[in-house]
C-alpha cells in the first residue's frame, strides 16, 4: 500500500513538471510517505497532485458496487483533470485514474444518477487569460459554464496501468452537451434529478433556475426558467434538488436566504430569510424526512430546518470555527451528518433527535410531530444523544467538500484545497450501535 502511494506521488510530480530535480522528489516522497502512514492509522488519504488545488468532489451516484469518488481539480495554469478515486475496501487500497478536463477549472462536479459514465461539471473558461492585459474590459469577464460529459469507455481498463503511462496520455472526457448559459450568466452548480433516469437536470445561473431535459444524450431543451426577483445583485450560490415529493421541489440558497421552488409551476414555495447570519454555503435534504433540510454557512453554524415552520431552525450546531462549506446527510442513516469547514476540520455528528429512525425503527413521515414528542419522552432512556462523533483533523487546508460514499454508507471522503482527499469510516462502535 505504501508503495502505491509513493507511485502516485511520483506520477503526480512528474506530470506536473517533467524537468525538475529528482532530489526534490525524494524529499517529498519520503515526507509525504510519512504523512500517509500517520493518516493510515485510521483513515486513508490520497494527495491528488502536488500542484493542483481542488474544490469539487462527488460520489459516483450511479455506481453502487465500487466505492468511487470523483474529484475535479482547479487550476488556471494547467489542464484540469478529473480524478477517479477508487477505494478497495477489502485490501484497503486506493486506486486513482485521471481523465483530462481541458475546458477549464472545475468549480462543481456531479455524477448522473442513471449512467455512471455521465457527469456534469461547472467550469470557468480561462481561454482569454493571455489577452487580459491587452484586451478591453468587456472581453475579460470570467464566465462559469456547465456541461455534460461522458467518460471514455477505456478509462476503466487503463486505470490499473502504471501511473507513468496514464500520465503521459490521460483520456479526455467526451462532451455530451453544453448547457448554454450565456444569456443567464455564470453557473453556480448543476443538479441531477435525484433517482431520475439521468435525463433531467437543473442549473443555477446567477439568478435563474434552468431546468434542462436531455434528449438523445446530446440535444437539450430548456423547459422553463424561474428568476429570482429582488434588488441588487442577487445570485444563487448553491442548491439542492429534493428527493421527496416526486422530485418536484428544489431548494436554493442566495446570500443569507434559502428558497424553495416548485418545479412544476416554477414558482417559489417558501423562503427562509436570514437563514444564516452570513452567506449560505451549502444545503442538503434529509433523505428520509421530506420536510427536513440542513444548511451551513459563513456564520460557522449548521442549521436544521423544517420547511413547514421556517421561522426558526429546528436545531443549530456551532462546532466549527470558520465558514462551513459543505454539509451532507448520510444517505441511509440520516442521523449521521458530515460537515466540512475552512477551519480544515471535518466533523461527523450524530443527530439522533431529529433523525427519522431515533430508536432503530422507521417512523412514518406523516406523524412527524408525534415522532418528535415521543422522542422527547424517550430521550431519557435513549443512549445515543445528539453528539459530535468525531472531529477529523487530517487536512491542513480548508475543506471545501465532503461526501458520503454511495456504495458503502459507512464511508466518506473529504477534500481540502491543497488537493488532499481523505477517506474515513464511521467509527465501528457507533456503526454497530446504529445497526444492532
Amino acid at each position: 500500500m505504501g508503495s502505491k502511494h509513493t507511485n502516485e506521488l511520483t506520477y503526480d510530480a512528474q506530470q506536473c513538471s517533467p524537468g525538475s530535480s529528482s532530489q526534490a522528489f525524494s524529499v517529498v516522497n519520503v515526507l509525504c510517505f510519512l504523512v500517509f502512514w500517520l493518516c493510515i492509522i485510521n483513515a486513508w488519504a490520497v494527495v491528488l497532485s502536488a500542484c493542483f488545488q481542488a474544490r469539487a468532489l462527488t460520489a459516483q451516484t450511479a455506481e453502487t458496487d465500487a466505492i468511487r469518488f470523483l474529484v475535479g481539480t482547479q487550476s488556471l495554469k494547467f489542464d484540469n483533470q478529473i480524478h477517479i478515486i477508487d477505494f478497495d475496501d477489502e485490501n484497503n487500497m486506493i486506486n486513482k485514474s485521471v481523465l483530462l478536463h481541458d475546458a477549464g477549472e472545475i468549480w462543481h462536479i456531479s455524477g448522473s444518477p442513471a449512467d455512471k459514465a455521465v457527469l456534469t461539471t461547472c467550469y470557468s473558461k480561462s481561454e482569454f487569460c493571455v489577452c487580459v492585459s491587452c484586451r478591453p474590459a468587456s472581453e475579460s469577464r470570467v464566465l462559469t459554464c456547465a456541461a455534460v460529459w461522458r467518460m471514455p469507455p477505456e478509462w476503466e481498463s487503463g486505470n490499473h496501468e502504471s501511473p507513468d503511462d496514464s500520465s503521459n496520455n490521460p483520456q479526455t472526457l467526451e462532451l455530451l452537451c453544453h448547457l448554454d448559459n450565456t444569456a443567464h450568466g455564470s453557473v453556480a452548480c448543476v443538479l441531477w434529478e435525484p433517482m431520475g433516469d439521468g435525463k433531467r437536470l437543473i442549473s443555477l445561473a446567477e439568478n435563474h433556475v434552468l431546468l434542462w431535459d436531455l434528449q438523445e444524450s446530446s440535444t437539450k431543451a430548456k423547459v422553463s426558467t424561474a428568476t429570482l426577483e429582488g434588488k441588487g445583485q442577487l445570485k444563487f450560490t448553491t442548491g439542492k434538488w429534493s428527493p421527496h415529493h416526486n422530485s418536484t421541489q428544489l431548494a436554493t440558497a442566495n446570500d443569507t436566504a434559502i428558497r424553495g421552488w416548485d418545479l412544476r409551476s416554477m414558482s417559489q414555495i417558501y423562503c427562509i430569510e436570514n437563514a444564516h447570519g452570513q452567506l449560505v454555503r451549502d444545503l442538503d435534504f434529509n433523505p428520509n424526512k421530506q420536510y427536513y433540510l440542513a444548511s451551513c454557512g459563513d456564520d460557522c453554524k449548521v442549521k436544521f430546518w423544517d420547511v413547514r415552520h421556517i421561522n426558526e431552525p429546528v436545531k443549530c450546531l456551532e462546532e466549527h470555527s470558520h465558514w462551513v462549506w459543505s454539509v451532507r446527510y448520510n444517505h441511509s442513516h440520516d442521523q449521521l451528518l458530515l460537515t466540512g469547514s475552512s477551519d480544515s476540520r471535518v466533523i461527523l455528528s450524530n443527530m439522533v433527535s431529529i433523525s427519522s429512525e431515533p430508536f432503530g425503527h422507521l417512523v412514518d413521515d406523516d406523524d412527524l410531530s408525534d415522532n418528535e414528542e415521543s422522542q422527547q419522552e424517550d430521550k431519557g432512556k435513549e443512549p445515543l444523544q445528539d453528539s459530535i462523533i468525531a472531529t477529523y483533523e487530517e487536512h491542513e487546508d480548508s475543506v471545501y467538500a465532503v461526501e458520503w460514499s454511495v456504495a458503502d454508507p459507512w464511508l466518506f471522503a473529504s477534500l481540502s484545497y491543497d488537493g488532499r482527499l481523505v477517506i474515513n469510516r464511521v467509527p465501528r462502535a457507533l456503526k454497530y450501535r446504529i445497526l444492532l
Binding site: 510530480a13 506536473c16 513538471s17 525538475s20 526534490a24 524529499v27 517529498v28 515526507l31 504523512v35 502536488a50 500542484c51 488545488q53 487550476s75 488556471l76 495554469k77 470557468s124 480561462s126 487569460c129 493571455v130 487580459v132 492585459s133 484586451r135 474590459a137 475579460s140 469577464r141 470570467v142 436570514n274 447570519g277 452570513q278 456564520d299 460557522c300 470555527s321 470558520h322 465558514w323 475552512s342 477551519d343 491542513e396 480548508s398 484545497y417 491543497d418
Partner: protein, 789 residues
C-alpha cells in the same frame, strides 16, 4: 503372721463391698472419688478400698529381703497399736455422751407432766367466759333495734326538711348570685325529687325548684352571653351550665360564635386598613374601588406604585403589629379559655362519658382554622402590596413578628395547621421578595445598559463625523470613556447586587425566629437566594449579552462591538461560563466588521481587469484603522497579554527588508510559468516543516490574544475570498500591495508576527494561483507604494 492379719481384714473387706454397692446404688461415689480411683484400685495400697492382704503379702514377700520384712512387720505392729488406742479413746468419749443424754430425757419427762395440769385449768375458765357473754348480748338485743330505727327516722326527717326548704334556699342563692351553691344544692335534691315525684307535695317542690333553676340558667346564660365578665367567671359559668345538663356542643358553639364576632371585628378593622392603604395607593383614581364596603379589593386589580406603597397608608410593620396585637392575641386568649373550659377540665361522672374534649377540640380547630385563614389572606394581601424594594428590614421584622405570634398559637394548639400555614406565608413572602429583587435588578441592568449604549453611541457619532475630516483627536477624546463606562457599569451592578444581598440577608439574621426553620437554613439560602437571585441574574446578564451578540450577527453590526466588549468584560468579572462564548462572538462580530468591506470589495471589482496598482486601497487603510481602534478599545478593558519576542526589532525598516528578502525567495519563481514545480515543492516542503498554525485557538482574556484572534480570522476570511476569485495581472499586484501594507501594520497587534506573515503569504500565494497572468510586482515598487500610502 499371715494368719494374724487376714481375719480382721476379711470382715471389713466384705463390709466395704456392701458399702460400695450402696454407694453405687445412690450414685454417690463415682463423682466424689474420681480422683482417688486410680490409687485405690491398687490392691497393694493398704489404705485403699481395694486392698487385698494376700496380694500385698505376696508382693512384700517377693520384693523385700528378710530385714526389710522384719522392719515392715515392726512398723505394722506399731501402727496397729496406735490405731487400737485411738479406738479405745473414741469409745470412751461416746459412752460419756450417751450417759448425759439419758439424764436429759428423764428430766424432760417430769416437766411435761406439770404443764398438762395447767392447760386443763385454762380450758375450764374459757368455757365459763363464753357462757357469760352470750347471756349479756341476749338481754341487750331489743334496745339496739329501737335506737337504729330512731336514727333512721331522724335522717329522713332532715332530708325532708332540706327538700322543703330548697325553693327558698335557691331563691336566696339566686338573690345573692351564689350560683354555685344553688346548683350544688339542686343537684343533691334532684334525684330524690325525681324519685318521689308521684307524691303531690314532692311534685310541688320539684316544680318550684325547676322554675327557679330555669331562672338561674337563664341568668347564667345571660351572663355567658354578655361575655364582659372575666375569664374565671366565664369558666365558672360554663361549668355550672354544664352541670345543669346544658348540652356541651351548644355551649361550645355559643362560646365560639361569641368569640368569633369579636375576632371578626378585629379582622374587619384590619381589612378596612388594608382597603384604606389600597385606596390611597391608587391615588383615588378609580371610584369603583372605594365604593363597595364588603367587596374585598382584589390584589391584582389594585395597581400599586412600588415606591409609594410604604409611605402611603400604614407600613407593613404597623399592619402586622396591629394584626398581632388585636387579632392574634385575642385569638390566643380565646383558645386558652376555651381549652380551659372544655378540654382541660377534670372529667367527672356522666360528663366524661359524653366525650366532650374531642368534640370541643374539633370545633376549636375548625374555628381557629377558618379565622386564621381569613387573617392569613389579609396578611398575604398586605404582603403582596409590599412591592417596594427599599424597606426590606420592615418587612422582615413584620414577618418575624407575625411568625413569632403564630408560634404562640402553635404552643397553645399543638395539632393545628395554622403555624405551618403561617410559615408557608413567610416563605412565600420571602420568595416573592426574591423575585421582586430579581426583576428590579433586571430592569436596573437594562437601564444601565441603555445608558451605556447611549454613552457609547454619542462618541461614536462624534467619531463618525470627525473621521470624514480625518480626526484622530476626537476619537482620543471619546475612547477613554470606555473603561470608565465599564467601571461604572460593573460598580453599579455590584453595588445593586450587594445591597440586594444585604437586604436578603436580613431574612436569615440570627434574631429572626423563622430563620431557624429548616427552610430558611437550607433551601432559602441555596435555592432561593443563590439560584433564584444571583444565578438567575447572572444568567440574565449572559442571556441579554448573548441576545445582543446574536442580534448583532443577524443585523450586521447594529450593536457597536464596543458594547459587546463591555459585556464580555462584565461577564469576565462575574466569571461565568459563557464568557468565552461571548468573547468569541465579540471576536467574530469585530471580524465581520473588518472583513465585510474586504469581501464587498472583492465582490465588486472584476479582478481580471483592474488597472495597475498605484496606491494602497482605501479599504486596507480602513482595516488598519479599525484594527487600531479595536486595539485601543480592547486595551482599555483587558490587560496586555504575553507577546512573543519581536524578531523584527519592532521597526518598520528591518521588517520590510525581511519581508522583501523572504518574498523574493518565496514568490518570485512561482510567477514565472517556466518553473512552477519548484514553488509548489518549496511551499509544500515549507508546509511540512512549519508547524501547523492553529487559526482557531481559543481566545484568552487579554488584549493580545483577542486581537490576534480577530486578525487571524479576518485574514483567513480574506484568504477564502481570494481563493474564490480569478485575478488578472494587476489584481495580483494589487493584492501584493495590500498584503504588504497589512504586513507593515498588523504585526504589532498580534502575539506572534509569524502568524501574520504566514497568513499574508498564503493570501498572496493563493492570489498567484488564482491569477491568469501571474507577473508579480517588484518588491521595491511595492514598498514605495506602501510608504507613500
Amino acid at each position: 503372721m499371715s494368719s494374724a492379719t487376714t481375719p480382721p481384714d476379711s470382715d471389713p473387706n466384705g463390709r466395704r463391698r456392701i458399702h460400695s454397692m450402696l454407694k453405687l446404688y445412690y450414685g454417690l461415689n463415682e463423682e466424689g472419688k474420681a480422683a482417688d480411683q486410680a490409687e485405690s484400685l491398687d490392691p497393694c495400697d493398704i489404705n485403699g478400698p481395694h486392698f487385698d492382704p494376700e496380694v500385698y503379702l505376696n508382693k512384700l514377700r517377693k520384693e523385700c529381703s528378710l530385714g526389710e520384712l522384719m522392719d515392715h512387720e515392726s512398723c505394722m505392729v506399731k501402727q496397729i497399736r496406735s490405731l487400737d488406742s485411738d479406738m479405745q479413746t473414741l469409745v470412751y468419749e461416746n459412752y460419756n455422751k450417751f450417759i448425759s443424754a439419758t439424764d436429759t430425757i428423764r428430766k424432760m419427762k417430769n416437766d411435761f407432766k406439770k404443764m398438762e395440769d395447767e392447760m386443763d385449768c385454762l380450758s375450764a375458765n374459757m368455757a365459763s367466759i363464753t357462757e357469760f357473754s352470750a347471756r349479756i348480748s341476749g338481754t341487750l338485743q331489743d334496745q339496739h333495734a329501737q335506737i337504729t330505727k330512731l336514727s333512721g327516722v331522724h335522717t329522713l326527717l332532715r332530708k325532708l326538711q332540706f327538700l322543703f326548704e330548697l325553693p327558698a334556699r335557691l331563691n336566696k342563692c339566686l338573690e345573692l348570685q351564689a350560683y354555685a351553691q344553688a346548683v350544688s344544692a339542686h343537684r343533691r335534691a334532684r334525684c330524690v325529687l325525681q324519685q318521689y315525684s308521684h307524691m303531690p307535695s314532692f311534685r310541688g317542690i320539684q316544680d318550684d325548684c325547676h322554675v327557679i333553676m330555669e331562672q338561674l340558667a337563664q341568668q347564667l346564660r345571660q351572663k355567658f352571653r354578655d361575655g364582659g365578665s372575666s375569664a374565671k367567671d366565664l369558666s365558672e359559668c360554663v361549668e355550672l351550665l354544664l352541670q345543669l345538663d346544658e348540652p356541651a356542643e351548644e355551649l361550645c358553639d355559643k362560646f365560639l360564635s361569641h368569640a368569633q364576632s369579636r375576632l371578626e371585628a378585629d379582622l374587619q378593622g384590619l381589612e378596612a386598613e388594608l382597603k384604606d392603604s389600597a385606596v390611597t395607593d391608587t391615588g383615588g383614581g378609580s371610584v369603583q374601588k372605594t365604593s363597595p364596603g364588603s367587596n374585598p379589593v382584589s390584589p391584582s386589580s389594585s395597581v400599586i406604585n412600588p415606591f409609594l406603597s410604604p409611605t402611603a397608608g400604614t407600613d407593613i410593620l404597623e399592619f402586622i403589629d396591629r394584626g398581632c396585637n388585636e387579632f392574634v392575641s385575642s385569638l390566643c386568649l380565646v383558645i386558652a379559655s376555651y381549652q380551659e373550659l372544655f378540654i382541660n377540665r377534670p372529667q367527672e361522672g356522666e360528663l366524661a362519658s359524653k366525650n366532650i374534649p374531642e368534640m370541643a377540640n374539633g370545633k376549636l380547630h375548625v374555628f381557629v382554622d377558618t379565622l386564621a385563614a381569613r387573617y392569613f389572606s389579609l396578611v398575604e394581601r398586605r404582603i403582596q402590596e409590599e412591592k417596594g424594594v427599599s424597606d426590606n428590614s420592615l418587612l422582615v421584622r413584620a414577618l418575624d413578628r407575625f411568625h413569632r405570634r403564630l408560634q404562640a398559637i402553635s404552643k397553645l394548639l399543638p395539632g393545628s395547621a395554622v403555624p405551618s400555614h403561617g410559615t408557608e406565608i413567610v416563605v412565600q413572602a420571602a420568595r416573592q421578595r426574591i423575585k421582586q429583587y430579581l426583576s428590579a435588578l433586571q430592569t436596573f441592568y437594562h437601564d444601565s445598559l441603555t445608558d451605556v449604549r447611549q454613552a457609547l453611541a454619542a462618541p461614536r457619532l462624534a467619531v463618525g463625523g470627525a473621521s470624514a475630516s480625518g480626526g484622530g483627536a476626537s476619537s482620543k477624546d471619546a475612547t477613554p470613556s470606555l473603561p470608565e463606562l465599564l467601571a461604572s457599569l460593573s460598580n453599579f451592578i455590584l453595588n445593586q447586587l450587594k445591597s440586594v444581598l444585604a437586604s436578603v440577608h436580613l431574612f436569615t439574621a440570627k434574631d429572626i425566629t423563622f430563620s431557624n426553620k429548616p427552610y430558611f437554613k437550607g433551601e432559602f439560602c441555596s435555592q432561593g437566594v443563590r439560584e433564584g437571585l444571583v444565578v438567575s441574574f447572572i444568567k440574565f446578564i449572559c442571556q441579554s449579552s448573548r441576545q445582543y451578540c446574536e442580534s448583532a450577527g443577524d443585523r450586521g453590526g447594529s450593536t457597536p462591538p464596543a458594547l459587546l466588549l463591555l459585556l464580555s468584560r462584565l461577564c469576565l468579572d462575574y466569571e461565568t461560563s459563557t464568557i468565552s462564548y461571548i468573547l468569541t462572538l465579540t471576536d467574530e462580530q469585530s471580524c465581520s466588521e473588518i472583513t465585510e468591506p474586504l469581501c464587498l470589495l472583492l465582490d465588486n471589482i472584476y479582478w481580471v481587469n483592474t488597472i495597475e496598482p498605484r496606491n494602497v486601497r482605501a479599504v486596507m487603510k480602513r482595516v488598519v484603522e479599525d484594527t487600531t481602534s479595536i486595539d485601543v478599545q480592547v486595551g482599555l478593558l483587558y490587560e496586555e497579554g504575553v507577546r512573543k519576542a519581536h524578531s523584527s526589532d519592532s521597526s518598520k525598516r528591518t521588517f520590510s527588508v525581511y519581508s522583501s528578502s523572504r518574498q523574493q525567495i518565496r514568490y518570485a519563481p512561482s510567477y514565472t510559468p517556466s518553473a512552477p514545480m519548484d514553488t509548489n515543492l518549496l511551499s509544500n516542503i515549507h508546509k511540512l516543516f512549519s508547524e501547523r498554525i492553529d487559526i482557531f485557538s481559543p481566545v484568552e482574556f487579554n488584549k493580545v490574544s483577542v486581537l490576534t484572534g480577530i486578525i487571524k480570522i479576518s485574514l483567513k476570511t480574506f484568504l477564502e475570498c481570494v481563493r474564490l476569485r480569478t485575478f488578472g495581472r494587476y489584481g495580483l499586484q494589487q493584492i501584493q500591495v495590500d498584503c504588504h501594507y497589512l504586513q507593515m501594520y498588523l504585526w504589532r497587534f498580534v502575539s506572534d508576527e509569524n502568524l501574520v506573515h504566514f497568513l499574508l503569504d498564503e493570501i498572496v500565494c493563493s492570489a498567484a494561483h488564482r491569477c491568469l497572468d501571474p507577473s508579480p510586482m517588484e518588491q521595491s515598487v511595492i514598498e514605495v507604494i506602501c510608504e507613500r500610502g
